[in-house]
């Protein structure tokens, strides 16, 4: 605990250095900037021309630089596509620096898998390098409704230093249903889903290596969070499983994982949560009481269970009451 506090103090202490560094990009490059913050950012090769960063199973904080979600990189003959921009500009710039070591091709696309801060807070760094931002057709409206709240709410959680410069930037290329992005020699297949984790979930499939970037439609080991529709998620589980991938980069959890076995844990959790909530509703138990025990048998199976289960139960209750 004291170590965390010291570390946070150090991180915050670097704020002024970082700000002046950002104004002098020629003097201090992205990699150096990220290093100054102590972020150890490593891309791992997942398949031929496919790379991923694995985030930590924590809540976003100053100490982890917001780097809690998994990010992806796909390199084509002409261009690079990036899947999600991370939870801070520090993280996004570290990612861009790492991509520079892998390929000299331009980053043509930044694909946002959904609206949450740990996936979109780095968008400004990609706009700056000229990438086109791609997202679900519902993503702009979702960000409009939440952007100001996210910036305000996360200022407290990750600190002034890390939130500085973060902008809510919506996609300009929208996916209605499906969209193909040609990177030269390989085509990414983007698919927009109906409400599940959120109402703006997008998956990215690289058919050349049969790698699926599932965004937060897939959580492994880290408790899934429900900010869309439990029923929608369960209903689309078979459709997800039918994607002809051999491996998946989940939104949170080990990179990569076997497909579709990666869905087993979250499917079980959601079925148990739905069962418990349905019973509470049938019994006439009010929401405030039901959410304290629903899903409790899953506690030992997940990281961050105490952070998110009651919230998931709350959202599930409000939805399942209408069945």
């Amino acid at each position: 605990m004291p170590i965390d506090r010291i570390r946070r103090k150090l991180v915050n202490g670097f704020a002024c250095t970082a700000v002046s560094a950002a104004m002098l990009p020629c003097c201090l490059g992205r990699a150096a900037l990220a290093a100054a913050y102590g972020l150890e950012f490593k891309l791992r090769k997942v398949a031929d021309g496919v790379f991923a960063f694995q985030g930590v199973d924590e809540l976003m904080s100053a100490a982890n630089q917001g780097a809690i979600s998994n990010l992806g990189v796909v390199v084509g003959a002409d261009a690079v596509a990036v899947i999600d921009s991370g939870g801070s500009l520090i993280e996004a710039n570290a990612l861009i620096a790492e991509i520079g070591k892998i390929s000299a091709k331009p980053v043509r696309y930044l694909i946002n898998t959904h609206m949450h801060p740990d996936h979109v807070f780095g968008n400004a760094a990609f706009r700056q390098i000229g990438a086109t931002i791609v997202g679900h057709h519902n993503l702009p409206r979702a960000l409009e409704a939440r952007g100001a709240f996210y910036l305000q709410n996360f200022r407290e959680q990750i600190g002034d230093a890390l939130i500085k410069g973060i902008e809510i930037i919506p996609p300009t290329m929208l996916v209605d249903d499906r969209l193909q992005l040609d990177l030269g020699g390989r085509v990414l297949e983007l698919q927009a889903w109906k409400a599940a984790h959120t109402d703006n979930d997008l998956t990215v499939f690289d058919s050349a290596t049969r790698t699926l970037f599932a965004g937060d439609l897939v959580f492994i080991g880290s408790l899934p969070t429900l900010d869309g529709s439990l029923l929608g998620w369960l209903r689309q589980m078979d459709g997800l499983a039918a994607i002809g991938a051999t491996r998946v980069v989940p939104g949170h959890g080990p990179v990569p994982a076997d497909w579709p076995a990666a869905l087993t844990g979250e499917r079980r959790y959601f079925e148990i949560l739905a069962r418990d909530i349905r019973k509470a509703i049938a019994d006439g138990t009010p929401l405030r009481d039901a959410v304290k025990t629903a899903g409790a048998s899953e506690r030992s199976n997940w990281h961050l269970f105490d952070d998110y289960n009651e919230r998931n139960a709350t959202a599930a209750f409000a939805e399942l009451e209408w069945e």
Binding site: A142, P170, A195, G284, P286, L287, A315, E319, E321, W322
Partner: protein, 287 residues
Amino acid sequence: MQNHAYRSRQLGLPLAAIFAAIILAIGALFGASGAANAQQTTASSDRIWQDMKGDVFGDRAILVDSGVVRIEAPKRAQDAAIVPVDIYIDPAKAPAGIKSVTLIIDVNPAPVAATFEIGKDAGVTHLSTRVRVDDYSYLRAIAETQGGELHMAQTFVKASGGCSAPALKNQDEAMATMGQMKLRQFPPQETMTKAQELQLMIRHPNNSGLQRNPLTQYFIPAHFVQKLSVSQADRLILSMEGGISISEDPNFRFDFTAHGTGQIQVEAIDTDGKVFRNQWPLEATGL
């Protein structure tokens, strides 16, 4: 859940002195607790309330923690869009009954979440609903007695952490199902009381009006359930005037005393002037 040591004996004091007493009491309370963050936010929430209460209640005295009304909410909101809140009335402390209850969330863009008028002899002693909470805030319930006294209770709610926002989860679904209603009836919890419970659910986005259309960049006009009334055989149980702080799919659960066996009637009107009506037979209570 702060208990301010400030009661009716202070009514004679000038308002400014009463406000000062509240601020001092809060300062003392949190100064003692040593929680630096909580101190700032409870104080700032309270400053908003002090600035606003004249607009809502004029210069009328408000008795705090007199026991007439009680409010409960989770200390930390799990989902900022769906925060359950329970308001209790103690009939023993307000023998002539309660005329209305106003629910206030200090820091929200529209702090007056709802005002509930309670029907005469409706016997409502417990009312629960779900609200959006934008930030650390006091939630306050102010009850007005038939005699015209105002009584307040309050509880402090910390906003949810993480990425839960007070916004619609599934906007397409919310629009497609708008106006559907559901009424659940629960038999009396204790056999000695005649009160039974109703839970009224209305599908409505209860949009905030703080969002922009991504294509036109114009603000999408606020669209919410503005008025609601629940009656039994044309006799008012409860009515509400509400705003955007009430959660999507407004949900109200309350006890009441049935008079005869007449139907339960509901009428809701939203800001577009759409009227939603429904009625249900009163279920046998087993009495």
